[in-house]
Symmetry: none
Subunit: 498 residues, 2 copies
């Protein structure tokens, strides 16, 4: 029976993923250089393809095939291709079927408008303007969660589960609670240490072209395969996959800040290397897709933070850096460079935060999102709640909403339950790195010699190649041999603060 | 009846053209920076979309609608929208219906792979590597022609007619025969004159970045709208339309030759301005599509050659040129610049050929294509036949295939019967320019002042806006008030040789 069902399902999925990857192509182009007047037609192209993809996704014949695959493979090992495909695709199919078409369309419309209004509201620092849109989005997301919830499942749990399957609110709450307790003293120590430092060597004026060249060189050396990818510029950095051998990093360089461009590339290259490490033979299926957002983020954070911000990396990269910036970094020691790249200080903007305080930004959003979904917090009262949380968690508070509640695009795009995956990614990354370090006999000396291959191979074998075979936390547990634990992240962050 | 049929047809066409323009997007990307290993999947994407487009094109309901439109509009003026749409789309519908789906898909796949292999073969000067691909493409094109041929119509005639409706092999043969006779003495005269000149000022070393900037500036000033388009780099220059307001020029710059980059841009900008001059309201329909390849080429050649290579253009552009190349063109007079840009000399590379010998390159390809389609020439023997023809027509012959039979992308993309439209374009261009010059009261003085708008407006009104309302040669006749005649081209070329 399997033998009959699986090829049918895979053939159907293959065509769907060709259309989806074509949409990614159109979106990539939209973000790299669509002529101004071409935007309207591009939306028309994307709408048509999105409709085609949706029709294929809810095709009843697919539901039947999946049911048959599920029945016929029930006795197999849960990690066998048939079981994984049956589990993951049935889940997705059932989700799609539980959502009324009208709700899907209204959400799509509300979030499309929502993002536009968010941009304007942020620019004019006017939360009241955004309020009706956000209220509607939150209502619709509540309805969506109600449609999708299993008996006894809370709305926020449903949302979280759609990004990080198997992660319960309870478990995240415990992990985040422990993390917060550890971070509070660390941030105090780190900030005090930082206050004693002079001006930073990584702020100043850095021409774009050598930044691009150096970043691309680094991306290539750590293992991003340019035979199967490329690097381009855009307004908002991201990484996208256009096919089984086509992974594209998009980033932004700033003349004022050396670190934002390079670390943007390292971050997106980490995402890209994960995609490149998936099994291309299973492209478009759960076996060839990333395990979760949290696991994806673990790969970007690992290369950006655990590797790229540490001293061994700069003992290797300092020389090449000087070749690209002979005057800018003249007479700067490796120690000084690393110190300045790792300054710890409470700040208002999440995407500009250092590695240590970053997680506090996430914890704040996690608390607020939960309350919004359970109606404990009214959307009207969100800006005040935001300020309170910042005072409470970071000891600072924004005076304007544009540096407060309006700073992130996520909620305007309907992405609620998404933020926690960033900190989960940090936690997974630290744990993976610590175990790899132990098993590979000391990563510091390898990295110092520019040898990144053993680490990447380890990640490919332990993490990438499994696709969605295991639930995210189970995957990390199997890869590292122990349950997910934030202590590795805390230990790692402690080195930045003492 | 019209009122009922036309909107239905237009709605159907709209969706088809969205899919077609999405294919153009995928192809544009394939030519600007597809990662090497992504080629195969890209071919898969294009194949799927080509199949979908083909399905829509042969949709029987469309055939019925078109028949009904044809009947109901039979009394209308032949240039009314309903009549034009009925005529052009019925022709296209009948063509498509004659092609088996499998052949369409195989051709799409073979030419997608073919282009990739061609690039590699050209780089490594290895015709044998390209041979199996080209053989397959020629076979498939022969099959295609056999499917499409009316009784008594030769394969090559079918191919030609698909690019230049109404142009018969007989008529082209006569026009080309006469042209060859006029060109032989002109090329002799021009070459003798050229041999007496010293080293050329347009050869040397020209950095790429100022070439790009100057070329882009020129494209903008002659009227290419960058709000509705962009300019990128590629291996083989071309121009493509991705939507009603999205027209993209792709070109190549060489550090050794100043003219190839600039004139590549002028040429492609001419194509782009034609596309931008079509009526966007009729996008995707025959009324909003170029009349033919020959007419398309007339627009590119007009801007590249008739405008860009003449002295008035350089009296305007010489100053700005010096701003971009202050040392390279120091102490070079406008006369000298124009003289060196217009040197006549037999050479091996079509796209680098001067305006006079250029047509000989086309005549050679016309002969070879005809023989390939009729199986008088085997694909295996093509390199040798190529060398022979060059000796015969131009008195020189390549020693490497990369400067011989591998130089052009066309055949690898399945474009057979396409080359003659280049020389037809030259003929149309010279005729259009001569008449516009007369009617607009002397273009030389306008161009010398950098005023290109009157000429462009004239072309938009006389040529662009009509789309496919008239057959190509009829359109040129209506625009200029006289039948197509190569004497304008010969008169124009004579000025370069004497």
């Amino acid at each position: 029976m399997n033998e009959a069902m699986l090829p049918k399902i895979l053939g159907h999925v293959r065509q769907t993923s060709i259309l989806q990857s074509t949409m990614s192509m159109l979106e990539w182009d939209q973000n790299t250089g669509l002529p101004p007047q071409a935007a309207e037609y591009r939306a028309e192209q994307l709408t048509l393809l999105a409709g085609m993809v949706h029709q294929r996704q809810i095709d009843p014949v697919m539901g039947e095939w999946l049911d048959q695959l599920d029945t016929s493979s029930a006795q197999e090992d849960p990690s066998s291709p048939a079981r994984v495909i049956a589990r993951c695709m049935k889940r997705e199919f059932d989700r799609c079927r539980r959502l009324p078409q009208a709700l899907v369309e209204e959400l799509s419309h509300a979030t499309s408008i929502g993002q536009q209004v968010w941009v304007e509201s942020k620019l004019s620092d006017d939360y009241q303007r955004f309020l009706p849109q956000l209220k509607r989005i939150v209502e619709l997301k509540q309805q969506e969660a109600d449609c999708l919830a299993d008996p006894g499942q809370s709305r926020y749990e449903v949302m979280l589960d759609s990004y990080e399957e198997g992660a319960t609110v309870d478990r995240i709450q415990k992990i985040f609670g422990a993390l917060r307790e550890s971070l509070v003293p660390l941030i105090r120590e780190g900030s005090e240490r930082c206050a004693r430092l002079g001006p930073s060597v990584v702020e100043g004026h850095f021409p774009i072209v050598p930044q691009q060249r150096f970043s691309k060189w680094v991306a290539e050396r750590i293992g991003f395969d340019f035979q199967r990818g490329r690097l381009d510029q855009t307004e908002h950095p991201f990484c996208t996959t256009l096919g089984p051998h086509d992974h594209r990093i998009l980033t932004r360089f700033s003349e004022d800040s050396f670190s934002s461009g390079l670390y943007g590339v390292l971050h997106e290259a980490g995402h890209g290397m994960y995609e490149q490490g998936l099994d291309p033979q299973w492209y478009g299926t759960p076996l060839g897709s990333a395990a979760s957002l949290g696991v994806h983020e673990s790969q970007s954070r690992l290369w950006e933070n655990l590797v790229g911000l540490a001293e061994p990396f700069w003992r290797w990269a300092h020389g090449p850096l000087l070749q690209h910036f002979p005057t800018e970094f003249r007479d700067v020691s490796t120690e000084r460079l690393v110190q300045d790249l790792n300054r710890v200080q409470a700040s208002l903007i999440r995407i500009e935060a250092d590695e240590v305080t970053y997680n506090m930004h996430i914890l704040i959003r996690f608390e607020l999102e939960k309350q919004l979904m359970s109606e404990q917090l009214r959307v009207e009262d969100l800006p005040e709640a935001w300020r309170e949380q910042y005072r409470d968690y970071l000891g600072i508070s924004p005076t304007e909403d544009r540096t407060g509640v309006l700073q992130d695009v996520h909620w305007s795009a309907g992405l609620i339950g998404y933020f926690p995956t960033y900190t989960l990614g940090n936690i997974y990354a630290a744990q993976l790195y610590a175990v790899a370090d132990r098993q590979l006999g000391g990563l510091a000396s390898q990295i110092e010699r520019g040898e990144f291959r053993p680490l990447l191979d380890w990640l490919v074998e332990r993490v990438h190649r499994h696709g969605q075979t295991y639930l995210p936390m189970e995957l990390i547990e199997r890869a590292t041999g122990e349950p997910v634990d934030s202590r590795y992240l805390v230990e790692h962050l402690a080195t930045k603060c003492r």
